[in-house]
């Protein structure tokens, strides 16, 4: 049986809050590979990523996640896109393992602890770190846990906002391996202020605080 083919597309996407639009008329279609989203602070990178992840409604346009040409909805749509970003926190009172166990169980897809430990180990959280409460974690460890969360349901689409932020060299290499693996399976959208985070992206969007100056390649 062949692996299902998942695409992420956006049609005439626009978003504005109270002022002028952050972006408008944005189209994209991704099946595999890396989309780099660049732009200065306040240009709308996080907003765009949240819209693509289904966490924010666009002011106009729509986002589609399709599997073998059929659009996904509801639970399938929600779990098909993995997300990690700076404003996403996990439960400080719970351990790393308990957090992952909770999200799998609450999403109706419980997992064995061995599998969850393996996922944490892949992001560099092993040994006693697994059993420590998140409130005791350093910034870098929290970032690693966010990545484990993003990949928790093996989503074919990954949306990562500043995934290297707060990480040491080893952590940055881990994210690059994580992204390299994911982009062979499906689309990966990565936003960053640091050009070093984009390794040979297949697509690129440069957002500008002035919505009319967006560039796409």
């Amino acid at each position: 049986m062949s692996t299902p083919h998942t695409t992420l597309s956006a049609e005439r996407l626009a978003k504005s809050f109270s002022g002028p639009p952050l972006f408008s008329g944005l189209d994209l279609r991704l099946d595999r590979g890396l989309l780099a989203v660049a732009g200065k602070n306040g240009s709308g990178k996080t907003t765009l990523l949240k819209i693509l992840a289904g966490l924010l409604r666009p002011s106009a346009g729509r986002v589609l996640v399709e599997r073998d040409g059929r659009p996904l909805a509801g639970e399938a749509r929600r779990l098909a896109v993995g997300f990690a970003g700076p404003d996403l926190s996990l439960y400080a009172e719970l351990t790393a393992l308990e957090n992952l166990r909770f999200f799998r169980a609450a999403a109706g897809s419980p997992a064995e602890d061995a599998e969850l430990r393996r996922r944490l180990e892949e992001t560099g959280l092993a040994g006693e770190a697994v059993a420590r409460r998140v409130e005791e974690f350093s910034t870098g460890m929290r970032q690693r846990l966010r990545l484990a969360f993003a990949g928790l349901f093996d989503p074919p689409v990954l949306v990562l906002d500043e995934p290297m932020s707060g990480l040491d060299t080893e952590g940055r290499e881990m994210v690059q391996r994580f992204v390299a693996q994911a982009r062979t399976r499906g689309p990966v959208v990565l936003a960053s202020n640091d050009e070093r985070d984009f390794v040979q992206p297949e697509h690129r969007i440069e957002l500008s605080a002035d919505a009319s100056r967006r560039t796409e390649t």
Partner: protein, 226 residues
């Protein structure tokens, strides 16, 4: 999701909220501190002999629900607000269906209310020499009233969670919605105190709880997922 998977998912949300609270103890301490303080104030200010015998049942029934309501109001609205304040709402929205979150949090709030009632009611009975002729009727009233409070408070917590001035907004929205529930609960408690079975009041409470649960279930997705 199948019914069994939904039940397990709801249980996971409920257990998570319980473990968080047992480790943090913010809501439990605040709620119980409020309940004990209110009880102490009422007993010192009024006491068992500060009321005329014929006025006691009515005033004690009202006072009991005032103490229960305000003690519960210290903790119940935190359900969704806490998720927004700690930044965990995003992870929850990304993975868990809104109605599963609502059901799990409502169960947790109902448990919190029952725990508050279990501490408050015996204390109230001792300090104010409150005699209840029909404890079974009182238990049914408190349980049904508590479920209604938990359902409405949990749903409203989701409504106000993303807003500024959450506390004020919660009180403004909650007051008209909870007023009928409290009035019926007080009337049913009075009847239980006098030894009768408040069938009409209990039926109204069942209807209120059912209607509130249906409305919350239908609206939660629109409220929570944006």
């Amino acid at each position: 999701m199948s019914a069994a998977r939904v039940a397990n998912a709801v249980r996971a949300v409920f257990q998570k909220d319980v473990s968080q609270e047992l480790r943090r103890r913010v809501a439990i301490v605040a709620v119980f501190f409020f309940a004990v303080t209110a009880l102490a104030l009422v007993s010192y200010a009024i006491g068992p002999f500060g009321l005329r015998a014929e006025d006691r049942p009515a005033l004690q029934s009202a006072l009991l629900w005032i103490v229960l309501f305000f003690a519960a109001a210290t903790g119940l609205p935190r359900a969704f607000v806490r998720e927004e304040e700690t930044g965990t709402a995003l992870a929850l929205r990304k993975t868990v269906p809104a109605n599963v979150v609502l059901a799990g949090k409502t169960l947790y709030n109902a448990l919190l209310f029952v725990a508050v009632a279990a501490v408050t009611i015996p204390g109230f009975a001792i300090l104010l020499e409150w005699r209840v002729a029909s404890p079974l009727a009182l238990a049914a009233t408190v349980l049904l009233g508590g479920v209604g409070l938990a359902v409405v408070s949990t749903f409203l917590s989701a409504v106000v969670s993303a807003a500024g001035q959450r506390n004020v907004l919660f009180v403004l929205i909650a007051f008209p919605l909870l007023l009928p529930l409290l009035l019926v609960s007080i009337a049913a408690t009075l009847e239980a105190t006098r030894g009768g079975m408040p069938w009409t009041g209990l039926r109204v409470l069942v209807a209120y709880d059912g209607a509130a649960a249906c409305a919350a279930y239908l609206l939660i997705e629109a409220v929570w997922e944006e």
